[in-house]
Amino acid sequence: MPDLAAGLAHPYLQNALAGGLIVAVLGAFVGYFVVLRGAAFATHALSQIGFAGAAGAVLIGIEPVVGLLAFSLLGAAGLGALSLRSRTNDVGTALLLVASLGTGALFLALASNFASNVVSLLFGTIVGVDRAQVGLTAVAAACALALLAAIARPLLYATVARAAARSAGVPVVALDFAFLGIVALAAAVTVPIVGALLVFSLMLGPAAAAGCISARPGVALALAVALGAVAVFGGVAAAYETDWPVGFFIATIALLEYVAARSIAAARAGAGRGRATPAA
């Protein structure tokens, strides 16, 4: 890797790694709850709903990220409303997702110019990240993490034992909405880096893989951060070497990590040492 070592001197690669690492850390912590709450589909939906917002922003001539964030948060509210009666509403999520995409299609059709910065929002432009964006990403990620830390304990309680938590005074419904809002924020932060379509790779994969290996939250979180970092480093390095899109490498590494973790967990269970974890 002599190329890479030299390449690291370049600011754009440094920015790419910095941005990717921030997202990996964010993804590990948010992803821990996403897996616990079975919110994988909601996460995917929120990133796609955000995409429609970006298209709308382009249509009315404002910064796409603003539309992205606005629609993501609106989407979170919509998903929360649809899930009021049942814990997770897969059907409602699917329909809201598709309706948003349809709206995005409408915006694109009306704008009549296939804005290239909208397409890049689909796949990510990690090598197009500049210093200022890294800074912004760091601030947004810090906000999301701070919010998550603030509600982490009651959120865990409400996720694992909803009825008991409610009787203990935990505002379970408000937490449902708050959590979706945090996911929306995290997705909006992640999207410009790895793209709307690949948010999973860092928000779901590492946390799920870590959960298969260890049931202890501290260990699982640390492992998730590590796995995310591996995916980011590996992805950026491979993208640098081959010139192929970084999102592809990150997604592939994340999937391999998960398959490996599942295999390890299965092997452990087979050896009769008992199940490693109930989490994923």
Binding site: A40, V98, G102, A109
Partner: protein, 275 residues
């Protein structure tokens, strides 16, 4: 409006879209019952990548669509029947497939156009040979669902009891995923990936909220699916007038919105009825 419906292209579009709407509703009934909405949607996204990839290679996109869709369904099925693991697996398989799409896009920027076509469908541009294939696949898929109906319902409602009665629960689940993938791929070919997800879960979920028993529910879902699709097409046509002839709004937009509206309305009705 009369000339619109007289055009053979439009008539073909209406027939083809009705077939896939009915097909999607029948399959979708079990998708909703089994909690496979995410898998159903993910399979369409993955199929999109495969179809566009096939188009790039100069092949019939249906091959790529079906191959990737069935592949995705197989991968999801392989990870196991438990809902949480399946959703995680679905997300990661989806991300992986989209990553491949990113590579295709990188290698061939025409990929974006191919994707666009598949995202929204080429409903008014149907090849008559394709219509025959659609009808054939449609008949096959509906026949498969009809044949599997009882054991599938049993396995979806009471899996342990079904197993004790000799239903091959795990194998049947797998088979259903494959049928779903084929049905969804076929629908996407006609009306695009976006509408195919809407038609898969929307009408079925609406019918489930309104109708008490499965057989009538499936018929109701088919009717709602066809209605939503045709209404969407009509509205898209009408929108031509709204924009004073500049542009018609996409069919996908109307169908998706109608599907969502129907579902929300049915849920609200159910809530009022049960109160």
């Amino acid at each position: 409006m009369a000339e619109f419906f007289a055009s053979p292209n439009v008539q073909a579009a209406l027939v083809a879209s009705a077939i896939v709407a009915a097909l999607s509703a029948a399959i979708g009934y079990f998708v909703v019952l089994r909690g496979l909405s995410f898998a159903g949607h993910a399979v369409t996204d993955v199929g999109l990548t495969g179809g566009a990839g096939a188009m790039l290679l100069g092949l019939d996109p249906l091959f790529g669509l079906i191959a990737f869709s069935v592949g995705a369904a197989t991968a999801v099925g392989a990870f196991g029947p438990r809902a949480r693991e399946r959703d995680v697996a679905t997300g990661l398989v989806l991300a992986f497939a989209l990553g491949i799409g990113a590579v295709f896009l990188h290698l061939q920027t025409k990929f974006a156009n191919a994707q666009s076509t598949l995202l929204f469908g080429s409903i008014f541009d149907l090849d008559p040979a394709l219509l025959r294939v659609v009808a054939a696949v449609g008949v096959f898929a509906i026949a498969a669902i009809a044949a599997m109906y009882r054991p599938l319902l049993f396995a979806s409602v009471a899996p342990e009891v079904a197993r004790s009665a000799g239903v091959p629960v795990r194998a049947l689940g797998f088979a259903f995923l494959i049928v779903m993938a084929i049905g969804v791929a076929e629908t996407a070919q006609i009306v695009g990936v976006l509408i195919s997800t809407a038609l898969l879960v929307g009408p079925a979920a609406t019918a489930i909220a309104l109708v008490r028993d499965p057989l009538r529910g499936i018929v109701c879902a088919m009717a709602i699916g066809i209605g939503v699709t045709w209404l969407g097409i009509a509205l898209a046509f009408a929108s031509f007038d709204w924009s004073r002839g500049a542009q018609s709004w996409p069919v996908s937009f109307f169908v998706a919105l109608l599907a969502l509206a129907a579902y929300v309305a049915a849920r609200a009705y159910r809530r009022v009825r049960d109160a």
